[in-house]
């Protein structure tokens, strides 16, 4: 099983995400934003948190137009798996791989704390290790995590069971408490909370570990 983690200038959760994949048994490569190809045979690409390109213009906008993101789109459009966390979620909405956009938090403050998340679907390789309706504790750290999409898009996401996680206590004004969404083929996940920061006992919380373990269970079978 191979994972690639993209690295932009200003990424700061790239190594955390790589460790999350490694501990779950993935062979991980770090891929620089100027690269024009992903390593051969990559099963899943991680788009990490941070402040790619200093959040210039809009969070994730410059990264979404970087050379490696053209490869990311090709990978996703060919049915490859992708997870984008925090700034990675912003990048995925800017590329158009996921619907909607992330606005400034409704309270205008940067929020950095652990929040309750409710698992909204078990039907994805990312969430099948949890029970639908289960509440888990995952850290958030963002200024622009207020999920926005028009009503028709939100209705479609809910109708197609593509909301992956909801906030238990909405911290940022996100529409319909949405914390993470899936692509139409359910193989691309974007979420503002950071499962990779809660993935082992040393973090003081390992509620995010089930996501990486579920990926191993699902993608291990694909590769084998």
């Amino acid at each position: 099983m191979k994972a690639a983690v993209l690295v932009f200038p200003g990424s700061n959760c790239d190594r955390d995400m790589a460790v999350g994949f490694e501990r779950a048994g993935f062979d991980v490569s770090m891929v620089w934003h100027k690269d024009h190809s992903l390593p051969e045979g990559v099963d899943i690409v991680g788009v990490p948190g941070g402040f790619s390109y200093g959040d210039y213009l809009r969070c994730g906008a410059i990264a979404a137009n970087s050379p490696i993101c053209r490869e990311l789109k090709t990978h996703a459009e060919a049915g490859g798996y992708v997870i984008g966390v925090c700034n990675g979620f912003q990048v995925l909405t800017e590329t158009g791989l996921l619907p909607g956009a992330l606005l400034r938090n409704a309270g205008l403050k940067y929020i950095c704390r652990t929040v309750p998340l409710v698992v909204a679907t078990e039907d994805s390789v990312f969430t099948q290790g949890y029970e639908k309706g289960a509440e888990i504790q995952i850290p958030i750290a963002h200024h622009d995590g207020n999920y926005y999409a028009d009503a028709a898009t939100l209705d479609a996401l809910e109708g197609e069971d593509r909301v992956a996680f909801r906030y238990g206590d909405n911290p940022n004004g996100s529409a319909r408490d949405i914390a993470g969404v899936l692509s139409e083929n359910r193989r691309v996940l974007g979420m503002m909370p950071h499962p990779e920061r809660a993935a082992e006992p040393a973090h003081g919380n390992s509620d995010g570990k089930a996501m990486f373990d579920a990926l191993t269970a699902a993608l291990g079978q694909v590769t084998a």
Binding site: A61, P99, L103, R104, A106, G107, L108, A149
Partner: protein, 76 residues
Amino acid sequence: MKARVHVMLKNGVLDPQGEAVRHALGALGFDGVNGVRQGKVIDLDLADGTTEAQVAEMCEKLLANTVIESYRIELG
């Protein structure tokens, strides 16, 4: 040639920064400020002959996120 692009959040998209500015103006004693919307102005220095359609393409592909923002182009 120059072009100026105005990027604004679309009507109906909450602008928390604009709201904070509105409250601050009220706190300074400016009554009657019923709404504030904050946007961006981007000045482009372009090769002669660049068309408005090309600037619009720049807006669609990068300068604005049309999920949440609208844009207006002034060529000058």
